[in-house]
Symmetry: C2
Subunit: 333 residues, 2 copies
DNA sequence: AACCACGTTCGAAGCGCTTCGATTCAATTC
DNA sequence: GAATTGAATCGAAGCGCTTCGAACGTGGTT
């Protein structure tokens, strides 16, 4: 193993000089810097992370708590993870993988052992049992998702309430007087997944304000569940003309089933959804949708963490405003 | 921060004694052990990972290279990751997340910096460009997937050749004389994903031996692609009576489309596949299938890594034998 | 009684790095 | 020309842990 000592010797300088070349924390002459950098390359030097962490009290690692067992929206989770890893690497940070299933003690463990400098927690729920323990973690913590009791914690999410309003408003603007919301399966609501409840609240607030009739349907994945749900949604008594879908897994089957029933989108039924842009765009019928900006959320999460690594910073809740893309799947009544 | 020194003082012993209590590398009297353990709990001591790594030259971390951008079989990838993290934690190891996309240099970097003691690489392809660099990594490396040139590397995978044989054989045994294989989309083959090619080889070997007619179809995801593919598969000239599907993403649409065409499984068409057991079991029609034993593969990968951490061990290629579960989706002709 | 062996424990030397004065030397200032 | 500054560099003290050799009883051998 090549150590900083050998680099120093090779370059004819002291260890501290090499260290300062590497960190840039003190000014070093161009000439010396060049020589040191050459030696580093020549010897193939890589600083030892443990020694560095020990001496500097910084691990340059963030712990990421991921819900690996979640079967729901895996693609979105992956996008988050991917974006967080990439942005962390931009800051020369690595990512330690912690699983939600392994329990909240994991976050505390890696911080207490100085394995990580900060924690990012994905998939935070309304009444998330991990919240108290996370609050006690002695390091910056950023939650993706906003728990009910988020005092003292930094959270980040899409503004689902605004999204619910916007989806409802978009249809109401186009003259729809009876709109159905197809949401996640019952377990998601029971689990208190905050985003589902918040979107619903926004949706109902807006429709109430506009005097639009609504029906709300919790729909499981699977073709039969979707078909059954559609029977309910399209019951003639309702007069449903617009559909808000907040459940990525049913989009494909839903559109298929509509086609099977010879219902045209948007001719017979307007459909609007919330899902990643590329999903919305590659469905059998491209759907007007609000994007889930996973990459952006991941990037902001990392920014929030990095900002809190240096100085003490007040906790904040950041809600990204939803962005709706019109793909022509809604018609004017 | 509580250090080992404070624990030692609190327990009235030396630092080294505390260390030996923790590591168990020397015998310690029950009495002392008890006192030390009490002090550890009382003070809330957590060993500093950096110091530990520096002194012991062991990080207790494995680097895991994950294809985060892969859109194919995300659920399987997650299962692997999940199982690897869990099994690594069983050994008191943590997992550092490296992305395939960030390039092969990442594995070398984390090893050279002593951030990890070993590397596990997922989603290895036939002519994987990362292989040469992985071979040069100065630490145990285990590949999930078998590249063509795997000399000197330890690899682990399902025996896809045997799986192909077994799937074909299962249908041939039941009297099918014309079998179609629906595989992954063309890009997967072009990329040289070894498992696709190996399954195909096994399939063709077996069918040739049995004198069974075959047709091979590369099918993209999406309902229209599936429908088009079925038109081809079911062309009357072929007389296809059995279907081997090696493409998890098309299973749902395929079964739907068969239903739409009023074709009964297995009455009109026998279908058999290779996918995770729970996927096969929860489809509209449960399918006889060979399981992708993700949990088991992950566990074995971790075992292989751990075995190689202590002593020098020869590289080996381990191929798990496929296990077929009959769910009644194939009929006798 | 001197010896050895063994189980337990201690002390101290690092592991490779960062960082804080201290030092040197040349350029500026009065 | 002495004093002051500031840039560039060095030396050494840790960071918190593991681990090796030594030391210390205690009990059994000879």
């Amino acid at each position: 193993m090549i150590t900083i000592k050998e680099v120093a010797h090779h370059a004819g300088v002291s260890m501290s000089t090499v260290s300062y070349v590497l960190s840039g924390k003190r000014s070093i002459s161009e000439e010396t810097k060049r020589r040191v950098e050459q030696s580093i390359v020549a010897l193939g030097y890589h600083p030892n992370a443990g020694a560095r962490a020990l001496a500097s009290n910084r691990s340059r690692v963030v712990g990421l708590v991921v819900p690996l067992h979640s079967d729901q929206n895996l693609p979105i989770i992956m996008r988050f993870v991917s974006s967080i890893v990439a942005r962390a690497r931009d800051h020369d940070y690595d990512v330690l993988l912690l699983t939600k299933e392994a329990g909240p003690g994991e976050a505390h463990r890696v911080i207490a052992r100085s394995m990580a400098d900060a924690i990012v927690v994905m998939d935070v729920e309304s009444a998330d049992p991990r919240v108290p323990e996370l609050r006690a973690v002695d390091a910056p913590v950023v939650l993706l998702g906003v728990p009910d009791d988020h005092e003292g914690l930094s959270c980040l999410d899409l503004d689902f309430t605004a999204a619910g309003r916007q989806l409802a408003g978009h249809l109401a603007d186009r003259g729809h007087r009876s709109i159905a919301l197809i949401g996640s399966p019952p377990p998601v609501y029971e689990r208190g997944t905050s985003f589902a409840a918040r979107l619903l609240a926004g949706f109902q607030g807006e429709t109430a304000k506009r005097g639009v009739l609504t029906s709300v349907h919790s729909c499981a994945a699977g073709y039969d569940a979707v078909s059954g749900c559609l029977d309910d949604v399209l019951h003639p008594d309702r007069g449903t003309t617009g559909l808000v879908v907040h459940n990525e897994a049913v989009l494909g089957p839903l559109l298929l089933e509509l086609r099977r029933r010879s219902l045209d989108v948007p001719g017979d039924l307007s459909v609007i959804t919330l899902c990643p842009d590329d999903v919305a765009a590659t469905l059998p019928v491209p759907l007007t949708s609000i994007a889930v900006p996973a990459e952006e959320l991941g990037a902001i999460a990392v920014e929030m963490v990095m900002a809190r690594l240096g100085r003490e910073l007040a906790p904040e809740v950041r809600l990204l405003q939803p962005l709706l893309t019109d793909r022509g799947s809604t018609a004017v009544r």
